[in-house]
Symmetry: C2
Subunit: 307 residues, 2 copies
Amino acid sequence: MSLITVGTMAFDAIETPFGKVDKIVGGSATYVAYAASNFVNDVKQISIIGYDFPTEELEELKSRGVKVDGVEMITDKKSFFWSGKYHTDMNTRDTLVTDLNVLADFNPIVPESYQGAEFLMLGNLMPKLQMSVINQLKVRPKLIVMDTMNFWMDIALDDLKEVLTKVDVLLVNDGEARQLSNEVSLVKAAKKIMTMGPKFLIIKKGEHGALLFHENHVFYAPALPLEEVFDPTGAGDTFAGGFIGHLAKTKDISFENMKTAIIVGSAMASYCVEKFGPERLKEVNKADIQSRIDEFVQLVSFDIDLV
Amino acid sequence: MSLITVGTMAFDAIETPFGKVDKIVGGSATYVAYAASNFVNDVKQISIIGYDFPTEELEELKSRGVKVDGVEMITDKKSFFWSGKYHTDMNTRDTLVTDLNVLADFNPIVPESYQGAEFLMLGNLMPKLQMSVINQLKVRPKLIVMDTMNFWMDIALDDLKEVLTKVDVLLVNDGEARQLSNEVSLVKAAKKIMTMGPKFLIIKKGEHGALLFHENHVFYAPALPLEEVFDPTGAGDTFAGGFIGHLAKTKDISFENMKTAIIVGSAMASYCVEKFGPERLKEVNKADIQSRIDEFVQLVSFDIDLV
């Protein structure tokens, strides 16, 4: 099953309480691709990179079945660069540097070879660009999943709201859900956001797991309690990649299967945070993923017959 | 099955974004008793009250099977009074007033009629008083559950550590687990705390649920996503009351049954927050409790066969 992913491919400089790296490959589309390619061997990437993006990284992605026809390379500019420092609790971070570089020119073009894809993952990007990708698709995908962030709610809310009317699943964190809805209660926030377009809403709560809302249903997936969270960068994108990867693999977009997809996404994210950048994601295999999913099953299973 | 609970019975003044009350019955032992009495008809209360504590409240508790022989009344002093104001997110609060009143004289005496109880719930109190209750028991209970707070870690850490060596289950929130262990990772914190005495550790995370640790096992119980959290006061004590109430009722102190007990405790807590003080707890019946437990089952159930 084919899956188009749109987002950034970039360099990050990251500092956590456990160490720092000055330059490591990152970007939302990179993480999505590494996660989703465990489930789908036809991930169609749309992004933009500079002359400095490593050829080996593109080769590595291609070897995992990721198509890069839609990855534009600008030969006289550098790749997007982000630098951040995490606080001790790892739940919050300060952005130190944001060098847009090639991202300032990003005007995503959907290659002809990508048409007909049944799943679309819109990574966190300027809403106008997300909309442009949707508009270029000749056949509406079976499922459109959208990520976004508070930044776009601050500066491009109208554009964001327009994209919302076109998507099936929205991914935000708890603070963003509250901001978008003007509601403190996440249940109320979810109800309001689901009137804006998305039929499904996933609220990510970092180390506290994720909630999936649909109509009057709600599902709570915990995050695996980890001994060490080495670097949370990309965990949300990795979660998204595992989520849509599982859905694309199974071709089942029911609420029940989305629950499973969230567990799969959480398992992928739990690996992502074990090393800097996408390093750990490159190492894990199907057995590792299954083993982590089994841990999730153990983590939440209980026998209520005794009550 | 008999259960001794030790803690405060008090008045609270509470302000939340949804309203305020100037004086409502509260106190850790009050909440524990209201919750546990749904499961055990022999809750043996140990506390201290002033002349102003309402007779009707004692009668209400007695009508639920709560014994008050161990509740000392000081006729020339007022009951313990606490006043607090919750922030908009309801996860944090400021204490405005703490009038110890009778609590300054509290020297809990275990009545002879309480001896032989198989379960002991030590509510959040000065560690020396918790220890005194343990020492007065002629037969060690089958299970001792202890609640505490950061305040005692700040001013009575050595006493607290001594009590820890005597208890089976410790209840703390995430910040307290980190403070007690000097570990940021909750997994590492749990491992360290379990070397201090308790064989089981419950880390409460408020709206993010609770974690149960035992040896190498961990269980994650989410909190029910609620449309309105009206007043979180007493939710932790109510959780404790439901938890130990279920264990006392079933007489099963296995890890498996503690998972169920956590779901029961969470169900009770989810009712507690719907109204000010223990008001909502007085209304719920067995069918309500079962219905909320069913919601928990729905909330976390997923089918992983599809992976």
